[in-house]
Subunit: 765 residues, 2 copies
């Protein structure tokens, strides 16, 4: 067995320079054979070719989808429809450490309601921040229907940074949508309730229950919503539904659908017809039109009523100031979608078969001329539907939501009952194409399809039922997002994508090149506050500090050890670990988990995260790195020991498990010198090529250089101990030196493979 | 606007019979145009064609992957690599209601440690139940490294049914693996600790710290692990790693790797070399060989020591009884993989460059002849490595894990440092092929690759680093599973699959046709105990029961209402909702969430689930269905009202929001009769075809028939109220009648689309 190291060394040498033969067998298996064997049609192969993204290549768009009652945000690539990340927003998620480290717990704590942790959300509608009506890719907002709350996700690192609780609503739906320059994020109520957060019997529904919209002020510099600069508008007890902001000529206005403008209160248990009957009886509901710029002025002028400490513009004020109007809209609509040029608002009622194109200009003229058909029971002026309309189109049964194409006047509307997408011309008012989907489409999404410049190309149908589309996985089915090619005259179904967790409602897609996420944090970073962490630790400065029964560990992680490796505390101590990941290399995340506890951190490069546990049971608790980070990942371990109360330390010297001699040291030392020769030759191979033209390789070379620096440090330790004839320490440090060499070799081989596969050229011999 | 209903009706009629035109534009866009535009090579197109699964078609295999520190199980299809479900195992997950309903909370409560909820797990190795060494697709077991625990997932509904806590370990790794008939599930310790769950200073590491393996007895009839029939074997304080069970000639034995057999204890904070140095110093570690059948006999004979109430076979007993042996294995191995015929165990050490093929026959002969090279410090006999070997092969640097092909003697080994997969012949001992992967592969998986009859075809490389493979999504990267075609002589890389949540370690894949999941539960089912729920509710039997301050709601859900719709309680009441989903139709899941609380249920068809809240704050709390289940999903709502203490009810009659007259009733009634004509014609269209040849359509027809039954019931109510000239109730019930018609039409259209798309034939005119 003495030769194992030697053989490893030879292998390293051989592998480094023996090219892995590229296969040439593709020519043997022809495409038509694959088609025949797999039962694929020509159409299938075209769809496959249109969606397949080869290894190492990128998707053209990134979609951000709500995760429904999972409380998460789902990120996937288009056209490959591969899910890249679930971002934890309202629900704790341990892989990300979200809700497990102290820093993210503080974010979740912002979402407490009446002092209680709410550990899920019903996310519905994400919105990407905009600049001049264009998606800018910096921030994402997403709402929680159930609770109701709004969250802010930073797209520079895909982490949730803030949660704000709506101070006057009990339920919401019509958010998040942003103004063209992201001054405000809208949140509209769903089920009416007393704004004052108190018990009011349902008999007073008409008088005391209310809807509302909240305009959350977003502070772009801080990257946070500023509740102190936010305000709401009181609305009638109609169930407000979706919203949108005006743009261009309609900038300054927001539009919010409603359903159940009958103000029906069910009670099937008492023999009353159910909500669904009473809320769907009229032919129309009301679109709310609100002049939010006027609202912002009223807020600044103090013309608000404080409810639960939050400024609300009452309906009375809103009417008096001429900032609130209603227009009939087809029954139970699902979407008030402003056209890219801001001239039209398209609305569809899901119990109707038509899409309605409202003309903003006509609406403004009616308002200017005070040409109203009447007032609702709360005194809000009602505009005439027919006089507001530009056109209407018979789109199919159960139309819901409309998104826009890059082609002028072209829109797509989801058709729920017919399970179709209808492509139509909203200028001319005619249907252009229909496509069946599977099944029961809710929202749909085109690329940047609610911005001022939609990008066309693809449409995603967010179907509410999957039924028979996928391999069965039990009674709870995945959802089904279907990708549709809209580049031609006819829509073409390309791909069925199962959603494995959560029920998405709405999604937004942005050109991938607009996103510029970071790959590492500045060293010692609190990623939730986006500031240097006050308890960060630099290498070599790790320490354990005791203050009474409070023990604070300032620790670090790096391939492949955790410092400190042994932490000894006393029963009853409250122990806080502040762990800093010292890595700078891309994807070199470490984890930190302590046996039998909920202590579980995800430490991306540069991050500092903390966890606090109470050492309430004496015993031995291993901790370790939970991310397979390196060859010796399993050895990246440590022990937390909890001494029982009153335990008296006994001076026992532990015996080493294995004793090493000069022979062991000499063998290791020789291996290391030989390994260094191999590494040098890999380095020579790389630097002889134009590696500096390849950013990923430059990054790998930096990382390898760092590892070789560590190797040099440990070599010195080993040789110093050897000089003192301490063969135990000399051998072990020589082993550690070799470990750093292996890490450097690992990185070097990855760099070499990259160069080989990307056509690097020899620049010097 | 009077004509909206009329137009909807016409639309329904038109859409039902107007075929959606299938596009004929495919011929226009040729494959080579797509290739050119998207920069695809011929190889890319072949890979696309080999992995693309057209809409409605099925994947050939289902993979079950651990979700690492997400605590979940990931299910995906092969070859499409689409994720079908995240099954919640150790971590609460609201979409599934897991950890939110009372029933699943009881499952999670089984996993408490020292009385504390542990809200995540570090899942590593799933195992599918076996019959005669073949995957049988009934159950799945998965371990939690951190805590340490074992979970049982039922593959008939993809739900977690049981969690058992290991009674003697503090950390584990080498599970789950099953015996060829699933009598036992193995769990092997990782980081040594005192089995007695007490504080022992690290100075006594050699004497008092221990490893172990636990054999959990699985009761197939009950579908649960039976802790009372389970036992463990004490092992030395080497860090046990992966395991496998023998099969065929080696049936009755289990094999468990180890690392750090140096028994090194680090302490870098005290100037000691880190664990990684001391744990990687020797050239070899020890493979543990355990005769578990002998162990089961000893357990039955009571030759065990009770530790923490759990029977443990001590090392002394195990050695004396001849059931425990050690063999040197290459350093820090990762996998002891028994060949399909049970004759060999393949082991690779990740600091070595070779795979080692151990011959079970040779090992048995050495044991029979007591041909040992010595004993370890704990008296365990050590077999000679060279005498145990069948062969060894130079596979690459950092070999980890081996899986088997359907072709005889062919195996695949993951090569971590070289980032390759090596295909080799373990009978002849020669390398056949190598393929680069991206990057740093951990485990790999072939189809049923650790059963007695591997299925070949595909291999998945479970890479530990993704780095530059996907669109960037921040410092925390997705993992990368790469699909490889192994059907030919040369391996071919087909697909890069990002893993968006959790870090998978190991995965198992089963032929999809072996799985027979249900699509609905028996009515009123407790899915966690798999029994009729004692608190199920039948339709019409909904009720609210008060007992002191305890209020129990027996409720139901069905498209599109929740019964009861109004629940009124008093401040301080403890309110339990037992909700039964009355649906039988596939994918007709309803949700149930109460505003501002953690009450959140997922109600698949037939399921009864419960949630308990304390009504500690007076107010109004809307509740609603969280799954978009039907056109009137948003109207599927209700209110929980909490009266303040001392509140006196006032007899106020609430005003109806909208008043209906005979005109309204007549209009609705006429609409309904016309709608019925359309429905009748859809029904005629369907029954004129061979719809009974299509199981999904038969199921849809049953569902539509049920909806029409409801329609008939509500029609009667409406007409009865009309006879009494109660136009309010008559109109509303007539509206409800129409709602049922719409639901029936929705289903009917889906059935018709299915028939059209699947070539149904006219069987009668």
């Amino acid at each position: 067995m003495q030769t194992i190291r030697k053989r490893a060394l030879l292998a390293l040498s051989a592998m480094s320079f023996g090219l892995v033969t590229a296969s040439a067998s593709w020519s043997a298996e022809m495409l038509d054979e694959v088609m025949k064997r797999r039962g694929l049609t020509e159409k299938d192969v075209l769809a496959a070719a249109k969606t397949y993204v080869p290894t190492g290549k990128r998707d053209e768009f990134l979609a951000f989808s709500s995760g429904g009652q999972s409380g998460q945000l789902i990120v996937y690539g288009i056209p490959s429809m591969r899910i890249l990340k679930y971002v934890a927003v309202f629900t704790p998620e341990p892989w990300q450490g979200y809700g497990f480290d102290d820093e993210s717990k503080k974010v979740l704590a912002q979402g407490r309601i009446n002092g209680k942790d709410i550990l899920f959300g019903d996310t519905h509608h994400p919105a990407i921040s905009e600049t001049n009506g264009e998606y800018d890719g910096r921030w994402l907002f997403i709402n929680d229907k159930n609770n109701p709350r709004m969250a802010v996700v930073d797209l520079h690192d895909f982490e949730t940074k803030q949660i704000v609780v709506n101070p006057i609503m009990k339920s919401e739906h019509g958010g998040a949508f942003v103004t063209p320059n992201t001054e405000y994020v809208i949140e509209a109520a769903q089920y009416p309730a007393p704004l004052e957060d108190e018990y009011v019997p349902l008999e007073q529904f008409n008088e005391r229950y209310r809807g509302a919209v909240t305009y959350w002020k977003f502070n772009r510099e801080a990257g946070r919503i500023d509740p102190s600069q936010s305000f709401s508008v009181e609305l009638p007890p109609y169930s407000q539904d979706l919203s949108d902001f005006g743009k261009g000529p309609s900038d300054g206005w927001s539009f919010t659908n409603s359903f159940c403008s009958e103000r029906y209160v069910g009670g099937i248990e008492k023999g009353r017809p159910p909500f669904e009957a009473g809320c769907s009886q009229k032919d129309t509901d009301f679109l709310h039109m609100i002049n939010w710029k006027k609202g912002a002025e009223l807020f600044k002028a103090g013309k608000t009523k404080m409810i639960n400490g939050h400024p609300v513009i009452t309906m009375e004020t809103a009417v008096k100031e001429g900032m609130l109007f209603l227009i009939p809209e087809p029954k139970s609509p699902h979407g008030a979608d402003v056209s890219p040029d801001g001239k039209y608002v398209i609305i569809s009622g899901k119990l109707d078969s038509h899409t309605y194109v409202y003309s903003f200009e006509k609406m403004m003229n009616l308002i200017k001329n005070k040409d109203f058909v009447g007032k609702d029971p709360y005194g809000i002026p009602i505009l005439d539907l027919k006089k507001s309309l530009h056109t209407q189109v018979q789109a199919g049964l159960g139309p819901l939501h409309t998104q826009y194409d890059s082609k002028p006047c072209v829109a797509y509307t989801s058709i729920y009952v017919d399970s179709q997408v209808t492509k139509w011309d909203y200028c001319e008012g005619k249907v252009l194409d229909k496509l069946s989907i599977h099944y029961n489409i809710g929202h749909l999404m085109t690329m940047e399809g609610d911005s001022v410049t939609p990008k066309g190309k693809y449409l995603v149908s967010l179907n509410k039922l999957a039924i028979d589309r996928f391999n069965p996985v039990g009674p709870l089915h995945p959802q089904n997002h279907q990708l549709i090619d809209i580049s031609g005259d006819k829509m073409e179904l390309l791909y069925d994508m199962p959603l494995p967790l959560g029920e998405p409602h709405y999604a937004v897609a942005i050109s991938a090149d607009k996103l510029k996420p970071i790959i590492r944090y500045k060293s010692g970073w609190d990623t939730r506050t986006d500031k240097r962490h006050p308890n960060r630790t630099r290498p070599g400065k790790e320490k354990v500090v005791r203050d009474g029964n409070k023990v604070t560990v300032f620790g670090t992680t790096i391939r492949s050890h955790i410092t400190p490796e042994i932490v000894e505390v006393k029963e009853g101590d409250v122990v806080t670990f502040h762990m800093t990941n010292l890595e700078r290399a891309q994807d070199q995340t470490h984890g930190f988990a302590i046996s039998g506890t909920n202590a579980n951190l995800s430490l991306e490069p540069g991050k500092t995260a903390s966890v606090t546990i109470t050492a309430d049971k004496p015993g031995v608790y291993p901790y370790y790195c939970t991310e397979f980070c390196s060859a010796l990942h399993l050895e990246m371990q440590g022990y937390l020991l909890v001494q029982p109360k009153g335990y008296k330390e006994v001076a026992v010297k532990g015996a080493e498990g294995t004793i090493y001699t000069q022979t062991d040291y000499d063998k290791q030392h020789k291996t290391n010198l030989e390994t260094q020769e191999v590494i040098d030759s890999v380095v020579a191979y790389i630097v002889a090529r134009n590696y500096q033209d390849f950013a990923p390789v430059v990054s790998l070379v930096e990382d390898a250089t760092e590892q070789l620096g560590f190797a040099a440090d440990t070599r010195k330790k080993a040789e110093d101990f050897a000089a003192k004839q301490d063969w135990q320490n000399a051998t072990l440090w020589a082993g550690q030196w070799w470990q750093y060499q292996v890490k450097a070799a690992d990185i070097g081989l990855r760099a070499k493979t990259y160069l080989d596969q990307h056509g690097a050229k020899v620049v010097k011999e």
